[in-house]
């Protein structure tokens, strides 16, 4: 299991965070799957466990159905793991944030519903990037929520990076425009934009986000911003509707799955990856500056089910 972050940041412990509260099911599952005779009951328990992990009832049924098709699996548990892995988008293991236009900063646009961990993720990302020797500018484009820019300011100070902010209630698009200007003028390597949390059902707010996206495209043509959707791991089936709406508004390129240090399993990302083909890029495993890790599919599934990878 490789959990080493690419930069010199000591990692939080994904495995221990994830495995804390799920001993019960696994021992039951192992007990059943350990015997050679594959029993119906075991498949049912597997399906329930997937539902309990927020995969969703239909997807859980599908995973178990395709696991059953696998010939001569090591064990039913291994078959379920294989089926789960098959839902994830194929990804380049060497993926990293990279500039798309020489001389222009990388642009990262961070979006999501209220309270999922956008600002905290940006704080952690800013620290990672700045430790990796990149020059970072933060854009405080959440001008709506009370004290949102004060919160980001504290993270900017922790990371020792610049931040562009306007007065509360200002046009977030103007903040973004200024931050991109500042990024170019100061020779920044990366501009990270914090946006206000918004429910995906509020069309006016989603339009506002699409406008921010257009401002990025206009100010830095060809920049292809990395558009990260921040999802709370405790989210249930609504997560898919959220991701679909944000994808439609701004074109998502990646997911950050936060609060994986909780007892929640984050299974809804399987549905999202499967439906929308958007990969999880990072996971949040705490509120500290080092608690952002690159997503490792094998480690994620292992931490979810507690068995070693196939």
């Amino acid at each position: 299991m490789t959990l080493d972050p690419p930069v010199d940041v000591p990692a939080g412990d994904l495995d221990s965070g994830l495995s804390r509260s799920r001993g019960g099911f696994m021992s039951r599952l192992r007990g059943l799957f350990g015997v050679s005779a594959v029993r119906e009951e075991a498949w049912e328990i597997a399906e329930e466990a997937l539902i309990g992990g927020d995969l969703g009832a239909s997807l859980a049924a599908r995973v178990v159905a395709s696991a059953r098709e696998i010939r001569d699996p090591e064990s039913p548990g291994a078959a379920v793991r294989t089926a789960l892995a098959g839902l994830l988008v194929p990804r380049d293991p060497d993926w990293d944030l990279r500039p798309t236009v020489p001389g222009h900063p990388i642009v990262v646009l961070v979006v999501g519903v209220n309270g999922t961990g956008k600002t905290t993720t940006i704080g952690k990302l800013a620290i990672r990037e700045s430790l990796a020797g990149r020059r970072v500018v933060l854009a405080a484009a959440d001008t709506f929520r009370a004290a949102a820019s004060e919160q980001l300011r504290i993270w900017a100070d922790r990371a020792g990076v610049d931040m562009v902010a306007h007065a509360p209630g200002a046009d977030p698009g103007a903040v973004v425009f200024d931050a991109l200007d500042a990024g170019v003028a100061r020779g920044a390597d990366i501009v990270i934009i914090d946006t206000a949390g918004r429910l995906h059902t509020k069309q006016n707010l989603m339009d506002e986000l699409a406008k921010i996206r257009r401002i990025v495209d206009r100010r830095l043509p060809g920049a292809q911003p990395e558009t990260l959707f921040v999802l709370d791991a405790t989210t249930g089936q609504n997560g898919l509707a959220q991701a679909a709406a944000f994808h439609q508004a701004v074109g998502l390129t990646g997911i950050v799955l936060t609060k994986l240090d909780s007892s929640a399993r984050g299974g809804i990302v399987f549905a999202i990856e499967d439906h929308l083909k958007i990969p999880v890029r990072y996971v949040g495993v705490g509120e500290g500056s080092r608690d952002l890790l690159p997503f490792d599919p094998g480690a994620f599934i292992t931490a979810l089910y507690g068995t070693p990878g196939p």
């Binding site: 804390r20 509260s21 329930e48 539902i51 309990g52 992990g53 927020d54 969703g56 009832a57 239909s58 519903v113 209220n114 309270g115 999922t116 961990g117 704080g123 709506f144 929520r145 009370a146 004290a147 949102a148 004060e150 919160q151 300011r153 504290i154 993270w155 509360p168 429910l199 995906h200 059902t201 509020k202 709370d232 405790t234 989210t235 249930g236 089936q237 609504n238 997560g239 898919l240 509707a241 959220q242 609060k259 240090d261 909780s262 007892s263 929640a264 399993r265 299974g267 809804i268 509120e287």
Partner: protein
């Protein structure tokens, strides 16, 4: 996707329409659809399992009632069982004590700070003089956020210097309330994970120090299957008196709240319906049931049929003037 599920459920039930009796096989088909609908609404899978057993028993052999078809009857049984799960009674906000102390607890990002401001405004409407207490020293700028909200509402906010323990912040808040002649104290605590023993012990200590008359668990309506575990863990640390379900202005069906209420018996007291400080509604269990089921139109039909006749039938506890059922917040379900 909710549309698809509701449509499927509706089709299943429509196929039962007009029959005098429903066979066991018919019921099984309907139960499969109901199970799916509930699971997709994030009702806990154990709660769903028990629920299906109960509904199945009642649904087998359901007779035509007045002008209701058998299929509609099944919808009614499901609806009534959902309302029963959510429970009744004991939802009024308790304000005994001088000052009356209300504490808000929950996971990170569930909406405690926003809810604290909304509740403060709500108590002003009830004729109270609230004081807000910023007891989250961990999240950057949490105190600033509460202070900004308090200022906009013209409600004082108690803050303590960096380094003050959370218990002392809470105690200081109660003292400040006495000094400022405020009769209601609303404590905004930090978000915490249930597996964080130290922080769970911290809220227990706060409760022991200031004895809130209400300890409300703030839960995001979009929460999935973990909701029950989370609520049970909080309930094990502090005596929870109610739930506040937030972000219900989205399109989540809020099965999490139903699961918590049914497993722990803690009543839902308020719904957060928007980001502004006036977006707080007192909770009506029947409307949430309708939202989870996504069968508003069928339920309205059932209700009308009951209004028209069949004298002895149990009236819907949900009936309101004008008869519209059962969107949350008098607003159409967004699907």
């Amino acid at each position: 996707m909710f549309d698809v599920l509701s449509d499927r459920l509706r089709q299943t039930l429509a196929s039962l329409t007009g029959r005098g009796r429903i066979s066991e096989a018919d019921v099984d088909v309907a139960m499969r659809e109901i199970r799916l609908t509930l699971l997709e609404a994030d009702v806990n899978f154990r709660v769903v399992r028990d629920f299906i057993v109960r509904v199945r028993e009642q649904a087998i052999g359901a007779e035509i009632l007045g002008s209701l078809s058998a299929g509609q009857q099944v919808v009614k049984i499901v609806h009534d069982e959902l309302v029963a799960l959510l429970g009744v009674g004991g939802r009024a906000l308790q304000l005994q004590g001088n000052p009356a102390v209300i504490s808000l607890v929950g996971l990170q990002g569930s909406g405690k700070t926003t809810t604290a401001a909304k509740l403060a405004r709500h108590t002003v409407k009830l004729g109270r003089r609230p004081l807000l207490v910023a007891a989250d020293p961990y999240r950057p700028a949490a105190g600033d956020q509460l202070e900004t909200l308090g200022k906009a509402l013209d409600i004082p906010v108690h803050r303590a210097p960096v380094g003050t323990s959370v218990v002392d912040i809470a105690r200081g808040g109660v003292e400040a309330a006495r000094r400022l002649v405020r009769d209601t104290v609303i404590i905004d605590t930090a978000g915490r994970l249930t597996i964080d023993d130290a922080l769970m012990a911290e809220i227990a200590a706060v409760n022991a120090a200031v004895h809130p008359v209400e300890t409300l668990l703030v839960v995001d309506a979009m929460t999935g299957q973990e909701a029950v575990t989370v609520a049970q863990a909080f309930a094990a640390s502090v005596p929870l008196t109610g739930l506040v379900l937030t972000k219900v202005d989205g399109d989540a069906r809020g099965g999490a709240a139903l699961s918590i209420a049914s497993v722990t018996g803690i009543p839902v007291k308020f719904l957060g319906t928007g980001e502004k400080s006036d977006a707080l509604d007192v909770f009506h269990p029947d409307r949430l049931a309708g939202r989870i089921l996504g069968m508003g139109d069928v339920l309205t039909l059932v209700e009308r049929a009951q209004e028209r006749g069949s004298g002895g039938t149990r009236a819907f506890s949900t009936r309101r003037a004008g008869g519209g059922l059962p969107s949350v917040q008098e607003r159409p379900c967004r699907r």
